[in-house]
Amino acid sequence: MTTTTTMNPSLTTAASIPTIDADVHVRWQADEDILPYLSATWHERWLRAPGGHTPAGLVVRPMYYDPDAAAYSAAMQGPGTVGAAAFPHPDVLARDWLEAHNLAAAVISCYDSPLIATYGDVDYPVEVARAVNRWITDRFLEADARLFGSITVATQHVEEAVREIHRAARHPRMVQVLLPAGARMPYGHAHFRPIFKAAAECGLAVAIVSGTEGMGTSNPPTPSGWPGTMAEMRVARTSVFTAHLTSLVTSGAFVDFPELTVLGMGTGVAWLPPYLWRFDKNWKALRSECPWLRELPSEVVGRHFRFGSGAITPVDPPGEFWRLLRSVSGSRLVIHASGAPRWDAQDPGSSFVLSSAPAALQAWIRSEGALAACPRMRIEQNQATLCGAGTSGSR
């Protein structure tokens, strides 16, 4: 079986660039799968918790109407083909996604795991985070060398989160720390700084993922209050990520950690340029409040933030989208990240971003951007070779 794009001379130039999918979701098949990684104290709670989307002792009940809420939990118990919320098995992931779309590698994360940082409890999410990280390492990273992992942390207990980052990062293919967009405070706050420090020390990126806004103990998904429908929610919640971005920049997270990259997953990006126009403008007058911010905020964002292509809305004509991005700090803000296997995941062939991006940006979007954001992925630079080896070795 040939999975490497470089081996196929019939493909176009763009398609011959190795492609990394920086956002693929995985999940356990049965709740019992996690038990070996969880101390006995927590087994009952884990198994008796509401199933499906929120396997927590805390019922996370969004206050808006979500027509697919039931479908999510049903889909996730199923065989896990594309269209479900998460891949339940590395072989399924490899067959239905990596090989189906000639992907050289994927960064995976546990679909449910960002939620645990929104639990009101402290000790339980600390334990669950560790269990999920150990499980994803054993189940997925050890099964397929094309897969790179995300470290789940319980932000409720920063010391434990730091310890867990250092522990989980001992696996060389853990490449990023995963934080939910839904949070109790913006991520630039001093409370979270040790988490970013640990990520930087380990050479990990930090991915802030959309989808948990308003859940658990996090703030409502809009600063004006609760949306009433999913239609309202999905558009309005952008401001949650916006607040994290602004907080990280003004608080000097990238002064503290000049090598750190923060990834916005599922956040879109077309809203960003006009926002940065304003951010830049205000900085000129208010820079004395954050004197360590010594350059335009758009320059900091252009250097330290990357956005997954998955939730980027197709713009007609597409040239307008790229023109908008060029208006601030270049176009290297976007990397290919599908959010697979969700129903709206874009494979490389159908991706708005890849199909419309200028030729000069293809390599960046397909792989260079992710490799630069996640320094640990450089270890696996020769994806073409690894790809073939991983395919035969993991079956």
Partner: protein, 157 residues
């Protein structure tokens, strides 16, 4: 803060500032220097805004030092010299580092809050952006703005 304004224009008004050469009306050019009045009339912390031909200049007394700047913000043209005098946190190498300085010599535009150094006329956020500054000289108790020479504040006696 009290701001005095000399409302008269240069040419032909008895109450207006005197100039070294009474040539503005003829050539349209500015005189070499212009007298803005007795230094004793502008107390420490005070300022006076004078019209010179078609332009406006602010003169400031900060701790006994004199400064003069164009009364025009390069951003949107606000009357910069009506802004608040304050200090600023100098650009810092590390987070959490606040170096409050240039106390009393940072002029904040009243419209959008851009900070300018009274000393250099330069914007704090970008030194390439500059407001014209003029040397101020003190002759026999009178303040003179030197319109021809470039440069910042000057202490003379």
């Amino acid at each position: 803060m009290k701001t005095e304004t000399a409302s008269a224009t240069l040419a032909g008004t008895s109450s207006g500032p005197r100039s070294t050469a009474d040539e503005t009306s003829r050539s349209g050019a500015l005189p070499d220097s212009i007298c803005v009045g007795a230094a004793a009339d502008i107390p420490e912390g005070g300022r006076r805004i004078v019209a010179v031909g078609k332009i406006s200049i602010g003169v400031f007394n900060v701790g006994g030092r004199w400064y003069a700047l164009r009364n025009f913000c390069p951003h949107w043209g606000a009357e910069l010299c009506r802004g608040r005098l304050t200090g600023t946190n100098a650009p810092a190498a590390r987070t959490g580092e606040y170096n409050w300085g240039q106390v009393g010599t940072i002029l904040r535009c009243p419209w959008h809050g851009w900070e300018f150094s009274l000393e250099s006329g330069r914007a704090v956020f970008d030194e390439r952006l500059k407001v014209r500054t003029y040397p101020v000289t003190l002759r026999d108790g009178e303040l003179w703005i030197e319109l021809r020479s470039k440069g910042g504040a000057q202490e003379t006696e």
